[in-house]
Symmetry: C2
Subunit: 345 residues, 2 copies
């Protein structure tokens, strides 16, 4: 991938929008919408098939997963499968299982991070209690394994399990790092956590898609590298949105990452760039919940600009992976990369 | 199974001990000890192989699983495999995965039930915090899937997933039932919960063992029925021990089931057998934490005797399944049934 890749005209068109553009054109794309609609329909169908007892448990399970979500990971899995010649239908059960596992991790993470809002609705534990939330996350994992059970191969299963293990490690690392901000809160550490919590699962989604589409080793590698870059850009944008939304007072989650024990790339940059004295002061203020003080420091250190630039670099790297390939629906992978950093939600 | 089965002399010897005997001879049996030791060694080996980061997460994972445990489900899986001609070695990875999943469910259940002690040590969340406990349970599921991933077939995976789903349903049903003692706390409801929380997983363990040992359909059915009866006798004995230990003041968990939101077969009998007025009074006293009052009522209604008789009936039914078969190590399955109801811990 070191030589200058051939640039397809269609890709040029997609990426010729000015960087500042608000919209990536992602959701307006008919093919993207078709795929997201299909994933949503299949999720609903699978959950209706699994309408077991007690009713309240299944209601709890449906709460967050039917509240929407970007379906980014399942879309990535489907696009990865299609890219190398597989069909949407081959990928669909695994796409749904991916959303089940992702939602399970969100439900448990929200309990752990004590979040109140998610996807515009109350978090599962806020609405149904922590106990039901823990069980419903476990149930979603069981449902996911059942869903892929009939079609799984050792290679696929090992990928899924490894991604799950990495997510747990990431969540634990995040928890531990946030408890010790002064020593461990660096951009490198934040990227390490993003690698475990977000990127590992994205890479797995692409890998599973590639396996299902019968990709060559080279194609599979390429899709995984793309997913890795995409994952970083996506999560850094997430961290920016968290800060910006809080700053604008439009943040659904109120003060969000800044006063919870969750790492944030923007904040990591601010802390890292501060002098020892200022670093100590900032951490103390954060522990006291003085978010306004933190905002001022974030502005002063230009951390949002730094994070935006970093996200953009990862996005460009992701696109570079795809340029010059003959992947089917390659333009959708390009669009997905644009969306990762341009999205407002 | 309706005709009088042939009784093997060796089984007669095993079951000729008086019912009141304190020991079932289970742990003194060399073959049983060999298998439990092997399971324990393999668990340790697998956990050392998986010594990832962050260290504290893996320390949390090891805490409960290395604290011991009866290894009943993994033993059942191994004995099921051996019964039909499979080898111990074939069954071992699945036995370890079974213990991982079982331990994951215990860690999460303890968070949900707010328990302080388990297997003679502090519960995981008590020692490492609820957050790490939730993550470590999730991690154990990931490790289990990875462990069986390379050897799993659709049939095996579907069995594992279904057992997991039933356990979640059982835990939720238990939670909901305990919140509404007056209307739902019956022996039938308690047995339903035992069926979901304990029996489903035992049946799965036997089924996986049977599949691994290449059992015939008939052999597999028989082992599953045996596991079902074993599961009921085992859990009813567990419920008795919980009450008796509490009563003797030797209960590790203090007041245990009686003042937690966990169903108990003994208590269900007491409530069910009481007149409407007495039922109301008992539930009020339980809600107030008046355990002494509950003990008196349990004695009055002879609920421990009733539960002991029921457990014994299930144990005999389990043994009847095995009698007359030519299962390898069938005498160990008989011993296991004895142990289920005679054990003091």
């Amino acid at each position: 991938m070191s030589e200058r890749p051939t640039v397809h005209t269609e890709y040029e068109m997609q990426t010729s929008e000015p960087w500042q553009s608000d919209s990536s054109g992602f959701l307006e794309n008919e093919k993207i919408r078709t795929r997201i609609n299909l994933i949503n329909e299949e999720i609903k169908r699978c959950l209706l098939d699994e309408d077991g007892e007690p009713k309240q448990l299944y209601e709890t399970v449906r709460h967050l997963i039917l509240a929407g979500g970007k379906r980014l990971r399942s879309l990535l899995l489907i696009l990865g499968c299609e890219a190398v010649g597989g069909t949407l239908v081959d990928a669909l059960p695994f796409a749904v299982a991916t959303e089940f596992i992702q939602t399970a991790s969100l439900i448990h993470d929200d309990v752990i991070d004590e979040d109140d809002l998610r996807r515009g609705v109350e978090t599962t534990h806020k609405k149904y209690g922590e106990k039901m939330a823990i069980i419903s996350g476990d149930l979603l994992v069981g449902l996911a394994i059942k869903l892929i059970g009939e079609r799984a191969t050792p290679q696929l299963l090992t990928s899924v399990a490894t991604a799950g293990i990495r997510m747990c490690e990431g969540e634990a690392a995040d928890l531990l790092m946030s408890q010790n901000k002064a020593q461990t809160y660096t951009t490198k550490a934040a990227l390490d956590i993003i690698r475990m919590k977000t990127v590992a699962f994205m890479t797995y989604a692409a890998k599973v898609g590639a396996i299902l589409g019968k990709a060559t080793e080279e194609q599979s590698e390429l899709l995984m590298k793309y997913a890795e870059d995409l994952g970083f850009s996506f999560q850094i944008r997430d961290d920016i949105l968290d800060i910006v939304a809080t700053q604008n007072g439009t943040g659904e989650t109120g003060l969000s990452d800044l006063n919870r024990n969750v790492s944030n790339f923007v904040l990591a940059h601010t802390i890292e760039s501060s002098s020892p004295r200022k670093k100590k002061e900032l951490i103390r203020k954060l522990d006291e919940g003085d978010v306004d003080f933190a905002f001022e420091r974030i502005k002063e250190m230009k951390s949002i600009e730094y994070a935006t630039e970093t996200a953009k670099e990862f996005m460009e790297a992701a696109k570079d992976r795809i340029r010059g390939t003959n992947f089917s629906n390659g333009e959708l992978l390009m669009l997905l990369a644009d969306f990762a950093v341009k999205r407002q939600y």
